[in-house]
């Protein structure tokens, strides 16, 4: 009898875990659609503050699958495609050039991206949600 109680308990927690996981997957695209302000960089766990030029950097993912970003003070915009299985957003600029931004972790308030660019490959870019105006 005892073993059945254990089995039911395990099944219950497994179901909870799976449901929770499904909810998380569904909400990745919803969570991503936000205004993300650059907070810090980290390389192998060590954090680095953005330099003066990068203080106002952000990335804004919109629901219509377009994005606006500011990188070292320079504004850019384009389309993005979220790849749920690959865990990345493919950013496509106006010229058609693409950059993969791997989503290392995401929650409602925090986003950690890793850009697939040679000089940035080991750098985790940490963003916080921001209430700042984009204008």
């Amino acid at each position: 009898m005892k073993i059945y109680t254990w089995l039911i308990a395990i099944a219950y927690f497994l179901t909870l875990a799976i449901l929770n996981e499904t909810n998380t997957q569904e909400s990745t695209s919803k969570m991503l659609c936000n205004m993300w302000q650059l907070k810090t960089y980290s390389v192998k766990g060590k954090k680095y503050a953005p330099n003066k030029k990068e203080k106002e950097d952000y990335i804004l993912f919109k629901e219509n699958r377009t994005f606006t970003s500011k990188s070292e003070g320079k504004e850019e915009n384009g389309k993005y495609i979220l790849n749920t299985n690959g865990a990345y957003a493919l950013l496509i600029d106006k010229k058609g050039d693409t950059i993969k931004a791997y989503i290392n972790s995401i929650s409602k308030k925090f986003l950690v991206l890793k850009y697939a660019i040679n000089e940035m490959r080991d750098v985790e870019v940490h963003y916080n949600t921001s209430t700042l105006s984009i204008n």
Binding site: Q25, E26, I81, N83, T84, N85, G86, A87, A116, R121
Partner: protein, 357 residues
């Protein structure tokens, strides 16, 4: 009978030196709602049914395959993304290519790849969309285990890309979506149908250790070098080179300048470029800044040193007949200018021999 065939297959796989590793796709994380189509059938048009041959940690070649029939696996993936329903348009998916690959692509990086080419057909047999996708991911060169564990993730990502590409193409081609019988009118026939380019594999990585003999008017010398490069599809290859060389002045110019012997010890830094004529045959061009010291002995055997810096250009050919393991031969000419006490300007010939591995 089938059992006997399987035993033979396994026997021959082992006999030809390939062990087999299987891949299964984890749960598809993609769920697309509000679409009026579903994948009704998946047909595998590939000639080779395995996913690719990849070297494992010990360098042994392993044949990668899906754990189950590829058709079943892709269908399951598509069903999880798009709910099957009678009121939706059935689409047939034909797999043209599905392979995985990995190779060292720079001195400290390794690239892993899933490549997929899919054709989407309407129920009446009309081709609706063709898409091919390279899902590449770059890792540190030592991440062999991580690459192995993530092949299935890149396959899922590539499948998702193709599915989204089909959906986008449908949106672009028509203001309405597919009709329920899967028929398309002329306005919807896609012009992108023939856009799939030939597959370009990842370049083979070459490691070379070479020994070079150099002769010019005043000196005889040698140089040892490590060269690493990826023989990719582009015509100009920039290899990673690190080398060390020594040379000794041999002519009577020494006496004229008041020295009995001059030796130079030089490290080279710079840019080299290989122009690929065919795989294994390259035109080798280089521009280097040699830095080192020159040890001078005057006629009274008094020793003095001189800092050497210069500019060196070389042009030649390099031949690598066997790509996995074998010899490398090269020949060329060079010109250099340097802060030498003996000769500032010079030109000469070089012969090179080495191994690639």
């Amino acid at each position: 009978m089938k059992k006997i065939t399987n035993v033979f297959l396994i026997f021959f796989s082992v006999a030809f030196g390939f062990s087999q590793t299987t891949i299964s796709l984890k749960e598809n994380l993609l769920e697309i709602k509000n679409q009026n189509f579903y994948i009704d059938k998946v047909i595998d048009d590939r000639q080779e049914l395995h996913l690719g041959v990849i070297a494992d940690n010990s360098g042994k070649k392993v044949k990668m395959s899906f754990q189950k029939e590829p058709v079943q696996i892709i269908k399951k993936f598509m069903d999880a993304a798009l709910a099957v329903a009678i009121d939706k348009v059935p689409i047939t998916l034909r797999i043209q290519h599905l392979k995985i690959e990995e190779a060292q692509t720079s001195i400290d990086k390794r690239t892993a790849r899933a490549y997929i080419a899919l054709h989407f057909y309407a129920e009446n047999g009309e081709v609706l969309h063709k898409v091919a996708h390279y899902e590449d991911q770059v890792f540190p060169v030592s991440s062999v285990t991580e690459i192995k564990e993530t092949h299935e993730k890149r396959i899922r990502a590539a499948l998702e890309y193709c599915l989204r590409s089909f959906m986008d193409a449908q949106k672009e081609n028509t203001t309405n979506n597919l009709t329920e019988d899967g028929m398309l009118d002329n306005a919807r026939s896609t012009k992108k149908v023939s856009t799939i380019k030939t597959y370009v594999p990842l370049g083979k990585w070459f490691n070379m250790l070479t020994f070079k003999r150099m002769t010019d008017r005043y000196n005889k010398g040698w140089n040892v070098a490590y060269t690493g490069f990826s023989d990719h599809d582009k015509d100009l290859i920039i290899p990673f080179v690190i080398g060390y060389g020594q040379s000794r002045a041999t002519s009577d110019i020494l006496q004229k300048r008041g020295y009995s012997a001059v030796d130079s010890y030089v490290f080279g830094f710079g840019l080299n470029g290989y122009i690929k004529i065919t795989p294994g045959f390259y035109v080798d061009l280089g521009l280097n800044v040699p830095i080192g010291i020159e040890v001078l002995r005057d006629l009274e055997e008094k020793k003095a040193t001189n800092f050497l810096v210069g500019l060196r250009a070389n042009q030649g050919v390099k031949i690598i007949p066997w790509k996995d393991f074998g010899i490398v031969v090269g020949a060329g000419i060079f010109q250099h200018w340097q802060t030498s006490k003996v000769n500032h300007k010079n030109f000469g010939f070089q012969l090179e021999v080495g191994i690639n591995f």
